[in-house]
């Protein structure tokens, strides 16, 4: 039977008609969500600063607390709703990173602690870790070479 349209034509038809994302709404939701999460982080930071902790301790403690908040909200089935609303505003902050590790850990608990939780925990965060660590090594090397040369 003769083909009516080519693959290329069909793809063009699909692109033309496919419903698009609500960009303005999504940008606004991401701004509000990301902003709110960062504001909480800022409050935590100021509280610890107020107690007289040094700069490095404040940074570590703030990260730890934000990771905990992300994990906790994932555990009580709330973070996925925040993510659905806020998109990248919820996934880019460290709370989103926490969500990306805790959610597979919860999901794959049924397959056991070794092949389930253990093996699948970094299903989503794995690439972030791999390339994050890799780029920090490259940056460190460049910094080292720069120091030697200058």
């Amino acid at each position: 039977m003769k083909k009516q349209i080519s693959k290329h034509e069909y793809q063009k038809m699909v692109d033309k008609k496919a419903p698009g994302s609500h960009i303005v709404r999504n940008l606004f939701a991401a701004f509000i969500t990301g902003g709110a999460i960062c504001s909480v982080g800022q409050i935590v930071m100021l509280v610890f600063k107020n107690f007289g902790a040094d700069k490095e301790t404040v940074a570590s403690v703030t990260s730890i607390i934000m990771v905990f908040i992300g994990a906790f909200l994932t555990g009580i089935n709330i973070y996925d709703e925040i993510g659905k609303f806020g998109g990248a505003g919820a996934s880019i902050p460290i709370t989103g990173f926490s969500n990306s590790i805790v959610s597979p850990a919860m999901e794959f608990k049924k397959e056991g602690y070794v092949m389930g939780v253990g093996a699948k925990m970094f299903l989503i965060a794995g690439p972030v870790l791999v390339y994050g660590i890799f780029s920090s090594v490259v940056a460190g090397l460049l910094y080292f070479i720069w120091k030697q040369v200058m």
Binding site: M1, Q4, I5, K7, H8, Y10, Q11, M13, V14, K17, A18, P19, G20, S21, N26, T74, N77, Y79, D80, E81, I82, G83, K84, G86, G87, A90, S91, G96, N99, S100, V102, S103, P104, M106, E107, F108, K110, L123, I124
Partner: protein, 335 residues
């Protein structure tokens, strides 16, 4: 003897009869517009089991039992079960029927499984080697999400072209004799791949297959859309349905008001947050086995072309840069 018309269509001689149908769905589907047609709504996403996979098997088995009950047959009267689902190794079906003492054929046609099973069973009954068969299919939102997408608690946004996997199952008891609508003709579909790569746009991946099967069926039988009360596609969703209409209109076939899509009628698209509608084997299976059969019983529908559509998506092949093949099988049901 059955005879073949044209390239693809098979006219059945003995015309197997649909003795009964049953559909059981999850809570979200039970909140949808077709709620009153379903035999049961399972509020617990685990359906009393420990895992989502076990829950899906449980729902499928309960649906099978319900369909048998309604047909007045017992499992010993059934010569063959044809069933399938979305999970790897047809997990839901294999575990649903492992304790049922009846021969079983597992089918994979993605979301087209219901019409595939009806097509295969009709041809086998027509051939005379089986007297009674059960056709069934299931899907579960949670088991499908974990296999194809993200963990449930992962905070990701859904794209506007995506569809919501239906939690539910449908089962039909087919027989060589009895009372009910008949399956008179089947048009098995070809695998059609028009190069769609976006696994969040299954409607676009499947509509060329639906188009091809519907067009072949009309050409083979020499009929037009007007000869049918309804052309019921599987789960193209709202966007896939638009694409199907566009493709058919390029071939000068106008669906007029004769088309419905299981994916768009099982949910309230505006209110239930399902983007383009429902999907999954359980979607067309549950809608066909309950709502559509009910319309036949009431005499509202007399001739329906049921075309369940499937995206034969492999997450592995998609990651390797491949496109999504689609398929659609048509069965003609007449009062």
């Amino acid at each position: 003897m059955a005879k073949r018309l044209g390239n693809q269509t098979i006219i059945l001689d003995k015309q197997p009869i649909i003795l009964s149908g049953a559909g059981i769905v999850g809570k979200k589907e039970g909140d949808g517009p077709l709620a009153r047609y379903f035999d049961d709504v399972v509020d617990d996403e685990y359906a009393g089991e420990k895992t989502f996979e076990a829950a899906e098997s449980r729902i499928l088995r309960d649906t099978f039992i319900k369909a048998l009950e309604k047909s007045g047959k017992s499992s010993t009267d059934i010569n063959l079960i044809l069933s399938g689902d979305l999970l790897n190794q047809c997990t839901a079906a294999s575990y649903a029927f492992r304790d049922v003492d009846t021969p079983y054929l597992g089918l994979f046609g993605a979301c087209s499984t219901m019409s595939e099973s009806l097509a295969v069973a009709s041809m086998i009954i027509d051939g005379g080697s089986v007297d009674y068969a059960v056709c069934a299919a299931s899907s579960h939102f949670c088991s499908a999400e974990r296999q194809f997408r993200y963990p449930l608690e992962f905070g990701a946004q859904r794209t506007p072209t995506s569809q919501w996997t239906v939690t539910g199952a449908g089962a039909i008891v087919l027989g060589k004799d009895g009372q009910g609508p008949k399956i008179t003709c089947v048009t098995p579909g070809k695998i059609i791949d028009e190069g769609i790569k976006d696994s969040n746009n299954m409607g676009a991946a499947m509509s060329p297959a639906a188009f091809d099967t519907i067009r072949s069926h009309l050409i083979d039988t020499g009929r037009s859309v007007d000869d049918y009360d309804l052309i019921l596609t599987g789960d193209l969703g709202s966007f896939g349905s638009t694409m199907l209409r566009d493709l058919l209109s390029k071939s000068n076939i106008d669906l007029k008001n004769k088309h419905k899509d299981c994916g768009t009628i099982i949910f309230d698209l505006e209110k239930q947050g399902v983007d383009c509608g429902g999907s999954g084997c359980g979607c067309s299976a549950a809608v066909f086995s309950t709502y559509i059969l009910d319309q036949f019983m009431q005499g509202i529908l007399k001739r329906v072309l049921f075309v369940a559509t499937g995206a034969l998506l492999s997450p592995t092949r998609i990651q390797q840069g491949e496109t999504i093949p689609g398929i659609a099988h048509a069965v003609l049901i007449e009062a």
